[in-house]
Chain length 313, copies 2
């Protein structure tokens, strides 16, 4: 379930006008920005962008960039974009930075096949290269095989499970973890092509046979970029709520807080299933997610994230 609270009817024109007013005079009225944009669905936000452009002949996104700054700006900027476009940017940043491949894995595994296609389209449109083209040019070896395989996948979506396949492929994954490099190729094939339902069955079979989850086994073993990406792949496919819970937990646990990761999870999931992630967080930590976040950040950034988390004004 989503945490976003948005009115069923709003006037894009009035919203655009209120935003314009918040930019005028001495300083910017951040509260208005939060009160409006923090309570609008993706469709409503695009309507506001169009209305603003029509009335003021100006790009709202560009104007916002010049009005606000820091983590608040980054969060508003990520939020105002359409999800596919946002993911395209996140993927591009991750590729160029040469680290944080878990963002690529998230985008490729947690989005539905059609959503992932939309990200690839948005990426092509924005960068005039394909996502896999840039990714393949910046990586090598098994890491490239895994990441390119994940972002180019168009998996079957359905409940059908082949138990025999789950059994065989649990062993393929086991071999890959045990013997490492030598048998990664088959493990990559399995993880990049099978349906998620089938893969969850395979992970379950692994646990039954080997008495322990495969992702735990992987953590014990390795820590290079490829193994990290492999680990993220398995965890995000297996249970993306738990996966996000841990991303958020690590982000706020860090000395200095990892704002990028925190913003990414809140902004990406507020309209989808952040409530579920929040429930998993509470169950795991006996602290409300909004309280934990509120303790670590401040100012307009904090107000904005808490609004997306469903805090009543």
């Amino acid at each position: 379930m989503a945490t976003l609270i948005a009115p069923s009817n709003h006037s894009p024109q009035e919203d655009a006008e209120a935003l314009r007013k918040s930019f005028e005079g001495w300083g910017t009225d951040e509260n208005t920005i939060i009160a409006i944009l923090g309570h609008r669905t993706v469709h409503q936000r695009q309507q506001i962008r169009r209305a603003y452009e029509e009335i003021y002949q100006e790009d709202l996104v560009k104007r916002l960039e010049s009005e606000i700054k820091g983590d608040f700006e980054k969060a508003v900027y990520r939020w105002i974009l359409e999800p596919a476009d946002r993911d395209a940017i996140l993927a591009n940043v991750a590729i160029k930075s040469g680290k944080n491949y878990n963002v690529i894995v998230e985008i490729a595994t947690i989005n539905s096949p059609e959503e992932l296609l939309a990200v690839r389209r948005a990426y092509l449109h924005r960068y005039k290269h394909s996502l896999e083209e840039d990714l393949a040019a910046h990586t090598t070896g098994p890491l490239r095989q895994l990441l390119v395989g994940l972002v180019t996948s168009f998996r079957y979506v359905g409940d059908e499970i082949n138990p025999k396949l789950a059994q065989n492929e649990a062993e393929i994954l086991h071999d890959a973890v045990k013997e490492k490099k030598s048998s990664y190729e088959e493990a990559i094939r399995v993880l990049t092509t099978r349906s998620k339902t089938q893969l969850v069955a395979t992970f379950n079979r692994y646990r039954e046979i080997h008495g322990g989850s495969i992702s735990k086994k992987l953590v014990d073993e390795g820590s290079d970029d490829f193994e990290k990406a492999l680990h993220t792949t398995i965890r995000s496919i297996n249970d993306h709520f738990k996966y996000y819970e841990k991303v958020v937990r690590n982000a706020i646990k860090k000395v200095g807080t990892d704002e990028d990761a925190l913003t990414r999870v809140v902004v990406s999931r507020a309209e989808k299933d952040l409530k579920t992630v929040s429930e998993v967080y509470y169950k795991r930590n006996s602290v409300l997610l909004e309280h934990a976040i509120a303790k670590e950040i401040s100012g307009d950034y904090k107000k904005f994230l808490l609004t997306l988390l469903g805090k009543e004004d």
Copy 2:
């Protein structure tokens, strides 16, 4: 240019009724089947299928299968389907037969990125597996990397060329041809991710530097499945008219004729660019394509293919 001759207006109901009549009585009236289906666009053929289903509560494709046979039936069956669905079937047959990977390469490289996506959708719908899933499960090593990379690509379409990249990647391809296996990985990356325009620039650069086309070099060298697929990839991206000309030439040159290949080219291209393929054929062989084909095949199959080739009744 297409060779198909189709009327701009037709009545799907009347067509359905005429087809039904051709099935009744003693034997089937093949001439009517050819006269109708051999002169209808993909859209018109789908309208006829729907009209037939509505009037007779029967699947036209199934009925045709029971009425006609042999190469004629196969050609009509391939022709009546929507292109994406037809390619999905061709790909599945190629995967299951474990040879003829050139069909996979054709589908992946000659279709536009959006057409290729449509094939992947059709494949998922028909087989409840993804195309790359079945392909990866039936292949290994560099052949798998190449084929899966090709079918999952979503290339940038545009005229922009990066000459420096063309230069560098011409050398990558050169190394791959020269040193073989060891450097295939980079060559596969280049061939499966760059835009076709960029790749043609790279092939041209290769010719300038090394004085000879890369596909010729590849033929000299190898002949295992992977190298054949690599060769087909380069040829079909470089100039698919020339590529198809050769497929047809080989198909009719063979003792016994390769009807599958012949049908595939005629049926797949009649509505797109078979006229251009035919012109390339004439230039190369000084024989009209329709005459060359007419000499090798017979009966209703011959009548049907020649109709698709634009022969006036």
